[in-house]
């Protein structure tokens, strides 16, 4: 049976996959193209179609997730605009670096090593902080109940140092945070530099950077990161769409699922005690690093089957983390219904 020239089974598969990705995207502000593009390539779509359709999907999902975070008061537009400016400049310089490495013939190796190192390093850092039980880091959504974080959340030590640099003009951000404009631009530039160098969207770099370096509460970091992705995803989609590479039979059904998942994921940020989730998030990044390494090795030794293995690792990791988010949300609901407050704040 077919609908709009596509089998209903495939449409259902896309919608289900979209729900999974949307949930992670809404909760963490990352994970879209990380999952979709490799999956489409393994399914046999051309690389340009996989990249373009993944980008269009990420754009639309970020619109939905941003709208939901806006409803929850978790988008800082001022910070978002500054991040866009700094990131854009950083990407341009990163691209120059990438071209220089390509000319030297070392781009693939260096980019692969940095990518795997970053994913694994950030994953290991977050997992370590979460399991060490010091409460001073990780993907902490404690400020979710504070209208974008009006209470004073735990501020990581590095962010405290950055906030202490009193270089005018100072910018007031959500969560009662005051940071020098130049510090924000520097962080944005650095994350853009890495994005341009690695050729990735950078949500997995930017979201932790907003929390660990700028010091805004995690829900605001997620919402503001998504706001930025709306613009980067929109421009990227448009550039690819001009070449006819965006396949709407992929994007439309994926969106049906992700629109639901993104709402659920965003809403979960104000419910979940993510002391439980931090570990899974860190583990997902670590497994992501393993998956990227496996794919790169597959490319080096000419074994395409390793692409499928890599995708399998990512999908299993994503499913486990999404499941953990759902279970923790339901547990929080049951806790609040049982008379005790939802475990959203320490």
């Amino acid at each position: 049976m077919e609908l709009l020239g596509v089998s209903v089974l495939l449409l259902g598969l896309f919608a289900g996959f979209g729900t999974l990705i949307g949930l992670l995207f809404g909760f963490f502000g990352m994970g879209g193209s990380f999952l979709v593009t490799p999956a489409l390539m393994v399914m046999g779509y051309d690389t340009d179609v996989a990249v373009a359709s993944g980008l269009a999907f990420v754009f639309a999902t970020s619109v939905i997730a941003t709208l939901k975070h806006r409803d929850l008061g978790q988008v800082d537009y001022k910070l978002g605009v500054l991040m866009i400016a700094g990131t854009t400049a950083g990407i341009e310089v990163g691209k120059l670096g990438l071209h220089a490495m390509q000319d030297a013939g070392v781009a693939d190796l260096v980019v692969s090593v940095i990518y795997v190192g970053l994913l694994g390093g950030i994953g290991a850092f977050i997992t370590y902080r979460a399991t060490s039980g010091d409460g001073g880091g990780g993907v902490d959504h404690d400020a979710a109940t504070t209208d974008g974080g009006q209470d004073t959340p735990d501020v990581p030590a590095v962010a405290e140092t950055i906030q202490s640099y009193d270089v005018p003009p100072m910018v007031s951000l959500r969560g009662g945070v005051q940071v020098s404009l130049w510090m924000i631009l520097a962080v944005a530039f650095a994350t853009g530099l890495l994005s341009g160098l690695l050729g990735v969207g950078g949500g997995f770099i930017r979201m932790p950077a907003l929390f660990y370096l700028v010091g805004v509460p995690v829900p605001v970091a997620v919402g503001t990161d998504l706001f930025e992705i709306v613009f980067s995803g929109g421009i990227g989609s448009f550039l690819y769409a001009m070449d006819g590479a965006v396949n709407l039979t992929i994007v439309v059904p994926l969106l049906f699922g992700s629109a639901l998942g993104a709402r659920l994921g965003a809403a979960s940020t104000s419910l979940v005690d993510e002391d439980e989730i931090k570990v899974y998030f860190g583990v997902m990044l670590l497994l992501g690093a393993v998956a990227v390494a496996v794919r790169k090795v597959g490319g080096l030794v000419g074994m395409p089957v390793l692409d499928a293995v890599a995708l399998g690792i990512i999908v299993v990791a994503a499913t486990l983390v999404a499941g953990a988010v759902v279970v923790s949300s339901v547990r929080a609901l049951r806790g609040s219904k049982g008379g005790s407050p939802a475990p959203t704040a320490d």
Binding site: L4, G5, A56, F59, A60, T61, V63, I64, L67, K68, G234, S237, F238, L239, A241, M242, D243, G244, V246, L248, T249, V251, V252, L255, F256, A259, L260, R263, V330, L333, R334, S336, K337, G338
Partner: protein
């Protein structure tokens, strides 16, 4: 799909992005309405409410 299989050029590019954006907004509004209607019942059911 929607006659945009062979889209090319700035105008078609804008059209494709526009279609995706409109779908996103419609789904956001649609699921939002669904959430308002069914949300409390689902939350009660999941929370083991009365």
């Amino acid at each position: 799909m929607f006659g945009l299989e062979n889209a090319s050029g700035p105008l078609d590019g804008l059209l494709v992005v526009g279609v995706v954006l409109v779908e996103a907004v419609l789904l956001y509004v649609g699921y939002g309405a669904l959430e308002r209607v069914l949300g409390p019942r689902i939350v009660d059911a999941l929370g083991g409410g009365e």
